[in-house]
């Protein structure tokens, strides 16, 4: 039995502790926003937040999440209350096929939590996910836009 917090809700699951967190979230808890791309932490499609850190969940045993706080794209925000990253992704019309985008958005959320206004070089160094539609141009714009939205919201609070 493994227990952790998923998008703010305490959850327990009875699976082999070696099962990658990705599959527990997708198939035990039915949240499909976190994607399978490669299974070897090489593409970043499965990126989610564990205690605020961006983690590639396809290689993280669920047992390693015991007692920790896991956030997926579904928990990041909602259409009524989007996270600044999601708001920026909408404003910049980033997705094409969209499959890799949750991973990019989660990696960006972690980056902005660390570095609220990242430079282009910091973005290059920290966001290393793969996107085959090649939406990189808009992803970069959206990261800067998300930083702006974040700072505006912070100022408003």
């Amino acid at each position: 039995m493994v227990a952790f917090t998923l998008n703010g809700e305490p959850r327990t699951v009875d699976v082999d502790g070696g099962t990658p967190l990705l599959w527990v979230i997708r198939d035990e808890f039915g949240l499909k926003g976190t994607k399978f791309g490669c299974g070897l932490a090489a593409c970043g499609a499965c990126t989610l937040l564990v205690d605020g850190e961006a983690v590639r969940s396809c290689v993280l045993p669920v047992s390693a999440a015991e007692g920790l706080d896991v956030t997926t794209v579904e928990g990041l925000g909602s259409p009524d209350d989007p996270h600044p990253v999601q708001q920026a992704w909408i404003e910049e019309v980033v997705p094409q096929c969209g499959y890799c985008q949750p991973g990019f958005m989660m990696a960006t959320a972690a980056l902005l939590a660390d570095v609220p206004e990242p430079t282009d070089d910091e973005i290059d160094a920290r966001i290393t996910n793969v996107c085959r539609c090649a939406t990189h141009h808009r992803i970069r714009r959206a990261i800067h836009r998300a930083a702006e939205i974040g700072s505006t919201r912070e100022g408003a609070e």
Binding site: V15, D16, T19, P20, W23, R26, D27, L31, K32, G33, T34, K35, F36, G37, C38, G39, L40, A42, C43, A45, T72, V73, E74, G77, S78, P79, P82, Q86, W89, I90, V93, V94, P95, Q96, C97, G98, Y99, C100, Q101, P102, M105, D120, I123, D124, A125, I127, T128, N129, V130, C131, R132, C133, A134, T135, H136, H137, R138, I139, R140
Partner: protein
Amino acid sequence: MTGGETGGGGAPAEGPEASDGRRGVTRRRFLVWSATGVGVLFGAGYLSRGVWRRFLAGYANAGEFPYGGPMDPSLWFEIGVDDRVVLHSAKVEMGQGTFTGLAQIAADELEVDVGRIRVVHASTSSGNVDPFATGGSTSISSLWQPLREAAATLREMIRIEGARQLGVDPSAVTIDDGVLTAPAGSLTYGAVVEAAGEWEVPETPPLKEVSDYRYVRQPVPRVDLEEKVFGAPIFGMDAEMPDMLFGAVARPDRIGARFVSADGSRAAAMPGVVRVVIEDDFAGVVAETFTAAARALQALDVEWAVERSWSDEDIRAMVRTGRGTDHVIQREGSVGRAFDSGEVIEAEFTSPIGAHAQIEPGVALAHVEADRATVMISTQVVGLTRRQVADALGLGVEAVDVRPMFLGGGFGRRLHTPIAVDAARLSRAVGRPVKVTNTRKQEFQRDTFRPPTHHRLRATLEGEGRIGAIEHRVASGQVAIGSPLVPALAQTVIGHDIGAWRGGMIQYRAIPNHQAVSRTVELPFSTSWWRSLGLLANTFAIECFMDELAEAAGRDPVELRLDHIADDEAGRRLRAVIEACAAQAGWRDGGVGGVAPGSEAASAPTSAPTSAMGFAASTDANTPCAHVAEVRVDEGRIRVEKVTCVIDPGLAVNPDQVRAQCEGSVVMGLSAALYEEMTVTDGVLGPTIYGPYRMATLADAPREIDVEILENADVPGAVGEPPLGPIGAAIANAVWRLTGVRLRDMPLQPALDRALAGAA
């Protein structure tokens, strides 16, 4: 197709009954009840025109691809009592933005707010099946006319029926945003549909002027943004059915391997395994979870027979011009005579095997029951997949329902999705729904690769820096030939490979003698459709060679190109794109920082500029496109700082999505041109994972991509592939201007590494 046919006791969750009950939508197929003849009428009209013949001929000439599916409005549209319009698209959405363009087109002719149109994939049981595929940059261009006609016809049907309900003449009814208004009162579309009896189907009404459209030619945000930003379960990978199990199928590592036998005893003993299935030449596992299936696959012992261990050298030797059967695909004047009498400039180019590398792996969910099957899948070939599953199960096609899901990337990879058959076999064996997913390694090794190519370019120069003759000879692995999409008969009729030579013709048709010659080779592994087909490699070769000719002639490369463009419509559109791109990028004599050929700067690296521009242009499927790449070389690393892209796709239904396709094509093409390469070692294709298969990331993508759209045709043309053409050549030409090194082999970064190592 009637509601009754899918309305049995085991109606699928998305069936009409469930839909009616859950969403409060009445008359899902709202015309079906009273006008079953309409489908036949429309369908027969569109299907009887020799779809295949037109397709093949048109495709070969200009990439034109008339839509061959049914255009009965009742198959495309569903109107609910809540006035929402559902558009059942026979084309799939793989990121190219087609759903958004279709919504815009439909909204304008239907006279409804685009926000009220929800676009969904048409299942095959709906009767709206594209007989061919989603591909070839044809979805919007091929549906532009028929979808407008279908939408306008539907609008007029509603007008006639609404007028009857209001007791007025249809001419007295005005329509605005889904509301009919007459002196007698007003009705919404939903109200008209709810109270409708018999539908009267009018002649196809005249279409509106493009200038009267509210949405067409506007940057409407993508209609699938919300699903994609908030993580909705829309992809093939996300498909689920009750009691679903997970499957994995053994596939060989080695090229040309044949199944001999399998021993499932170790796999069957693994935890969570439900069944090991070994039939004929097939071995797979079914388990309770994805992880259990993946682990069991590792324990499945399969013996494969291999007759030969292939190497890169073998493949390179097969793909050479000058050997095998040539097909002349373009000929004007006589290049032979010119080459006999003048000094011939010559160069050879190559491109490697490329992988699709789309992020969602091959995946299919199938549920096979006694006399029917249901498949949920990301595929570009809905009809073909249905047929393949039906054949494998011994069912008629009407017994198989394929429900397309959003694709986590297509790029041509999903123009062949026999993984649906794998899922169906496993489902049949266990009697429950089974979802099969390829491993990433399987995805890389068993891809339908972009074929390797070899090009030989020859030309002669005349006085005043003009080109007298030019010839492009290309040898390539197969693209169209061998594809299950192209019937064997058609392959025989056409003979040459229309995919392999795409982009291989000489677009500078004012050169008095020009010729293009294609040769294709069947390789021991599968090669086929990869976004833009032969365009990337063929343009790389021809457009790099044009720069070499400019150098030899002492001409500016842009001016040299402009001097050899034919004075006809295609030529004028190409000229406009080239001139606009040069102007937009600030191109002057070799571009910013350009090194004049043979100048001192070129041979004195210390005083050389830090960046240079490279130019290239292509024409693909009637869409001309030009790129200027601004490139730096940092300690041997090629950095593309900015790309200016000018494209003329004709009428741009959604300028923002045209832009998105250009940005994506530029970076995907840059990635393929600079880094990507599959190699063959000891009979095995590799690499089998991202990283070692190097693709551009944010750090490699240009910080600036400046897209300008010209619309020098009044109908929409190809968008998704043409802007991939020029990028490889534009980068290589810039590298030459900067370093004096000619890169004639893709991928360019390793080629530069070798050149610099050789010079050191």
